[in-house]
Symmetry: C2
Amino acid sequence: MKLENSITHENINQNLLKVNYAVRGPILDRAEQIERELAKGVSKPFERVIRANIGDCHALGQQPFTFIRQVMALVSCPTLLTSEEFPEDVKDKAREILDDCTSGSVGAYSPSLGLRCVRRRAAEYLAARDGVPAAADDVWLGAGASDLVKSVLSLFAGQVDGKPSAVMVPVPQYPLFSGTLAELGVHMAPYYLDEENHWAVCIQELERSWNAASKEHAVRALVIINPGNPTGQVLSRENIEKIIKFAHERRLLIMADEVYQENIISKPFHSFKKVTHELGAPYCDMELSSFVTASKGWAAECGARAAFVELRLPRAARAALLRVRALQQCPAVPGQAVLHCVVRAHPVRSSPTVLCARRCGPPRSGEPSHAQFAAELRSVRAVLRARAAAAHRVFSSLPGYCCNVIDGSMFAFPRVELPARAQRAARRAGLQPDELYCLRLLEDTGICVVPGSGFGQRPGTFHFRTTILHPPHEFRYMLRAIAAFHHSFLEQYRG
Amino acid sequence: MKLENSITHENINQNLLKVNYAVRGPILDRAEQIERELAKGVSKPFERVIRANIGDCHALGQQPFTFIRQVMALVSCPTLLTSEEFPEDVKDKAREILDDCTSGSVGAYSPSLGLRCVRRRAAEYLAARDGVPAAADDVWLGAGASDLVKSVLSLFAGQVDGKPSAVMVPVPQYPLFSGTLAELGVHMAPYYLDEENHWAVCIQELERSWNAASKEHAVRALVIINPGNPTGQVLSRENIEKIIKFAHERRLLIMADEVYQENIISKPFHSFKKVTHELGAPYCDMELSSFVTASKGWAAECGARAAFVELRLPRAARAALLRVRALQQCPAVPGQAVLHCVVRAHPVRSSPTVLCARRCGPPRSGEPSHAQFAAELRSVRAVLRARAAAAHRVFSSLPGYCCNVIDGSMFAFPRVELPARAQRAARRAGLQPDELYCLRLLEDTGICVVPGSGFGQRPGTFHFRTTILHPPHEFRYMLRAIAAFHHSFLEQYRG
């Protein structure tokens, strides 16, 4: 008796078949295969694969912050609170967290929204950032920003007055958005970022996108990624004002993916929350969702899966979402402890750049852990700035390359002109031209980057995204290797 | 200009409005309110609220296992690996985990399925449990079993040949299932457990349920909760065989929620995987999903949000689900470390009860941490058995109460006959009769239990679920207080 499958291509949830996530897509599969080949002794023109596909700082050698990891150790193993190996400010932090855990154990469930102490600290952080009070009750903790983005997007699944819902998403975009919308069966209404204008959000393009989508869809929300992923821009205050007015006029929920707000390189960051507040009524009362994570910023604790969203929703929507999230009990409590370390507010501000350095977290000046923390922070910031400048320099100088200045985030996203012969060769192989380019780069150099087609791009343009997180010597090697590869690629496909 | 809401009761995803999760429902809201009243000095007939609504062992005073917490501390803060305060077997475990983390940091993302070393250990655990090899590639780690149950259920959203999908779920059930199905818009096809037959699964009742649902739905999967939640039964091997044959005949994916498999009190546990294997072809080749968690069992590390599912799926379904889960990156890595501590396999087996005590986890006899671990394990097991017996004794002796023997899990689920006058009073107040009973219990005694209507029950019967996890003196108080309350409740509503 042959067994028939209970789940087939035909009867599976069809939305799932439409999900793609290029950051962990076919290029990474091939990179992992190459790693296995190298381990077996297969000869390659390089010694090892360099993963530049994902913003994973620790994987690329950034050392964890001592303070955070000491707090994690203490909350995990409170008997260490009597050890003299830990500074007092670390112990205080750990005690504050443990006092808020039921029966003092990170092994107990927290409230679904997250520990009260973490949500209070997050609200203080927001208040210091924006100059306007924030409510701990509007802070929802989650298992990474991805988890929270999915929850907020889930509000829109279904139809309104017979029209299926749609959400406006920038192109290029971080494919969490396209993937999650596909999973939820919500239409994605793309709007193009203005590459010639430093990846700004053009209001006419928003209008074009909204008009096009509104013919057959109910447009419900507007996703903004600032600082940009993969594009690395930081939006100007004027641009943000116009976006807010656009969203307000059309009753769109702004979803401000601001997870790179602490990865600022050259331009000041303005949160959507702050700008809505400064615009006054009616904008300061808008519903809003904005995302902050422990995976990015200086801490870069991706493995902790810890983030929060400030979510201002009408009461009925809030109650419904609370019930849904309660089904999953709560976010991981050790991750909540990490978030607590990241979001302590520093109210002192002066210039924009000093603001960035100061308001981000513990320990405060005068506390025992401060000197080490400050040294670790300086080092993380200095290398990011240096690498952003080096990447921009190289990607602006190669023939056919073009790259905006990297204002923030941890990525470069150069545009690459690909020869017509290369484009034809790609299509014959069933690949996008930039996929071919990135696969060839991987085979020749071991460098794993993500093709622009994984993020979306204007038709006829080609890009790739690379992280700029590697140790200096490796990063220099990468840039040299990409340059050499590009010349040989052009040579091969010369018209 | 008055701001209109962007999200209203009318335009929100309507599925979200149908989600209910009684374990964190209105009774808990009232309990939390009472706690705040007590804190303000309001006088009550009790000193504090006793939460018996959720299986959260640490919250109720169970101490974490030293070994697990020491491993957590070391993987968080690897500089402690040189400290002499930690035994060598703890250090070995931590090194094994860190060696598998990219660049040795729990702050790096893991593969979406989870760390390779944890999945390999989990496969060994399954192999030792079932006497049949398990593949690490079939082990998917997640943020608690809830996360993984949702993923597997998501396979079924949508329609098959124009019929909406349905999933068979026991009644009473753990409301994660009804809630998640509502969220996904998948129909729940209820089948009643046989309370008179020790909450067994009656095959005729499965057939009735399947036939009823199949008229308008495509029935796709069969949920079994074993040991039962809230019902506390452990299914016999014969019962499991018949269930497997039933599911096979109708091409249903079995979803075996076996998260209480280490909370065995009086009857041997048989996994669905083992029984399919022992039945031989064609059953041993069936697709199957079975869930194991670090939140339950002896470790009870709920806050870690760490679980795995053994998931045998056809290739296309596996690939689709992998892409969807990659959107969320990976489960929290500190939680994966906890799971690694929980699932080390012990191949030694003799009788069923010794099997339970032995196969569960580290450290092994002869290792430095073994004596302390063994003492902690004995204590956890002994108190669970004692409380199960005490609960059964009391709930079998009260007038109008009736309670099956508690074979496993951490709950008692007594049936309570409620006077007709009480039923009428409840309906006048817009409550289910068991809700009224539980609310009154809370107001009179401070004890917070969950009404049977939150889990589902045969019409006209009333139950409640209480955890049996409290410290001995508190548990004795609870049982006495429930008995006294019941007598006064009967008195008040005497016909």
